[in-house]
């Protein structure tokens, strides 16, 4: 492996990691606070993408300014994330908080199945592809290889902003601290006056928003079609399992691990590229059963 290849693989790996991280960030945040692994997060990703593509098409159709392409992606995430997030939280998740983990997981799985069909009913089965934004940002040549600025710069920057923004919110604001308090001990936090319902809703909406944002940002570079959500959710599961559930910073590292290992595999052992997320997950869990960054918990006796 030459230095040149090393640089190329790193660039590819990071842009893939950025998208993966954004989706996983929402997922792990929700788990940290509510203790629910939300399978429907995959649908949020897909729907975010579809809405963004629809807005992109609308901009073209009504002849609006191309300057709107990028804002439209964020608008899509802001429009649909909180809407669906609220719907899911109030309609389903709030009602299953006390139930067994299995049942909680399956409820979100059911929501995922339903939303999967809803997507097909709304957007049909033909792939959607609106790549205006990617074209708009142009290309940069690195070592003779052409990269899109969108994937190489925009995605990682947005992911970093999302991460630091979330961290700022959680540690520096009053509301954020309430969220953190909930992650440590739900009952105690509630007893100390934290409005559990509100905090849960807020967390879920933020998490859902990150999911839809991931989808919206992915839409310029990838085709949207039935099934995109399923693929994303399995990969994000791998990310948060490797990191340790509820670990935000860990998720960033795990996403990079998966993204980079996949892109390096394409150069070194292409046949293993598909397997890398799972192999990493198995290896990490075998060595650290609760993920790389989680502390082991003990039962109170």
């Amino acid at each position: 492996m030459t230095t040149e290849m090393f640089i190329l693989a790193t660039l590819d790996g990071l842009s893939a990691a950025a998208l993966l991280f954004m989706v996983a960030l929402g997922l792990t945040l929700i788990f940290g606070v509510m203790g629910i692994l939300n399978v429907a997060h995959g649908s949020l990703y897909a729907i975010g993408g579809y809405v963004a593509a629809t807005l992109g098409l609308a901009i073209d159709k009504f002849g609006l300014s191309p300057a709107l392409y990028l804002p439209a992606l964020f608008l899509a995430a802001i429009l649909i994330g909180p809407l669906l997030g609220t719907l899911l939280e109030v309609g389903l998740l709030r009602r299953i908080l006390g139930k067994e983990h299995v049942l909680q997981l399956l409820v979100t799985f059911a929501a995922f199945m339903i939303l999967e069909d809803v997507q097909r009913l709304v957007w049909g089965t033909q792939p959607y592809f609106v790549s205006n934004v990617m074209n708009q940002f142009g290309n940069t040549d690195v070592l003779g290889i052409t990269y899109t600025n969108y994937q190489m710069i925009v995605l990682p920057v947005v992911a970093a902003v999302a991460y630091y923004g979330l961290r700022y919110f959680l540690t520096k604001t009053w509301l954020g601290r309430e969220v953190i308090a909930m992650t440590f001990h739900r009952e105690v936090a509630t007893a100390m006056g934290v409005n559990a319902k509100l905090v849960s809703l807020l967390t879920f909406v933020i998490g859902a928003g990150l999911g839809t944002l991931g989808g919206a940002l992915a839409s310029p570079s990838t085709a949207l079609l039935p099934g995109v959500g399923a693929d994303m959710i399995v990969q994000s599961f791998a990310v948060i399992a490797i990191a340790g559930l509820g670990q935000l910073g860990g998720a960033a590292l795990a996403a990079c691990l998966i993204g980079l290992s996949r892109s390096f595999a394409v150069y070194l052992m292409p046949e293993l590229a598909v397997l890398t997320p799972y192999i990493i997950m198995v290896l990490v869990l075998l060595v650290r059963p609760e993920g790389l960054f989680a502390a082991t918990s003990m039962r109170r006796i």
Partner: protein, 310 residues
């Protein structure tokens, strides 16, 4: 008593229906095979653990059947026996690692292993036939070479017998000392250790048994379908098993089969009647079950039973 009645009714109904409507034989066989694998998942659910990768044992057994059937002209029953043993050994080995994990991590690790197996099978096209899978000609059953129709009837009875025996065995296991300890893992593993019982060992035995059931279901499925595809080990299949387990309920072994029948029925008619909306239907059924009958169909049956007892 009531459950015994339901069991008998189910068997009789299975036989009658399959004979009056020959086309139902395949879905009935498939349901029972699924039911066996689901029973495996239920064993683990009793320990409070959910495997999102159990289809790997069915899939492994299925491929074993195909490999053996293509390499040597073996009898169907022998194929089932050998393939199931391989799956059981496989689960025993993986189990050594996996039983250390609980909750989400247990599910994830199973998922990861199953995806590794799935990817490997899809990749080694020359050996496994890739995603198109491998097919094989109908093997003789207990020495008899049968036409498709007779073969399916015979297979139906083989599957039914397996389902019945395994259902009984599972039920006895649930009520045995290791089975009771297994269920105790769900609520208090610490106490189990403080009784001097090794939770890992108890769980490992349960895992082995569940691998056996999933393997048996998978090998029967392979024989019934005459074809095995990697699809059989995909995480969505594992998800289906969990789905059915919740639908049927883990309170009693019969739940696995009840769930499998209802699942097949709902999917079948949803796909036929509401083309393009069968996932909505299944999703809705699942949510309704979880909210209204979290113990599954078995829960409904036992609730039905209680007043009569007093």
């Amino acid at each position: 008593m009531f459950i015994r009645l339901v069991t008998v009714a189910l068997i009789v109904l299975t036989i009658i229906i399959s004979h009056s409507f020959p086309w139902l034989k395949t879905p009935v066989i498939f349901s029972l095979c699924n039911g066996l694998a689901v029973l495996g998942v239920i064993v683990l659910i009793r320990a409070g653990q959910v495997s999102f990768g159990h289809a790997m044992y069915s899939c492994a057994a299925g491929y074993m059947v195909v490999f053996l059937a293509r390499a040597y002209q073996l009898d169907g029953l022998l194929l089932i026996g050998l393939a199931t043993s391989v799956a059981t050994v496989f689960s025993a080995l993986l189990g050594l690692f996996i039983v250390r994990y609980r909750g989400i991590f247990f599910g994830m690790l199973n998922l990861a292993f199953s995806m590794v197996l799935y990817s490997i099978i899809s990749k080694f096209t020359t050996i496994t036939g890739g995603t198109d899978g491998l097919s094989f000609t109908r093997p003789p059953l207990a020495g008899f070479v049968l036409e498709r129709d007779a073969f399916e009837t015979a297979l139906l009875y083989v599957v039914l017998a397996c389902a019945l025996i395994c259902g009984l065995l599972a039920q006895r296991y649930f009520e045995s000392a290791p089975g009771q300890s297994l269920a105790a893992i769900k609520t208090n593993e610490t106490r189990l250790e403080y009784l001097g019982i090794s939770a890992k060992h108890v769980f490992w035995m349960g895992y082995l048994f569940s691998g056996f059931l999933a393997g048996l279901g998978g090998s029967l499925f392979a024989i019934a379908q005459g074809l095995v595809t990697p699809e059989a080990g995909y995480w969505v299949r594992s998800g289906e098993f969990v789905f059915i387990a919740i639908l049927g309920g883990s309170g009693h072994a019969i739940g696995a089969y009840l769930g499998a029948f209802i699942f097949e029925f709902v999917r079948f008619y949803a796909a036929a009647l509401l083309t393009g909306a069968w996932q909505i239907t299944l999703g809705t059924v699942l949510i309704v079950i979880i909210f209204l009958a979290p113990e599954g169909l078995v829960g409904m049956l036992t609730r039905f039973r209680l007043p009569a007892r007093r």
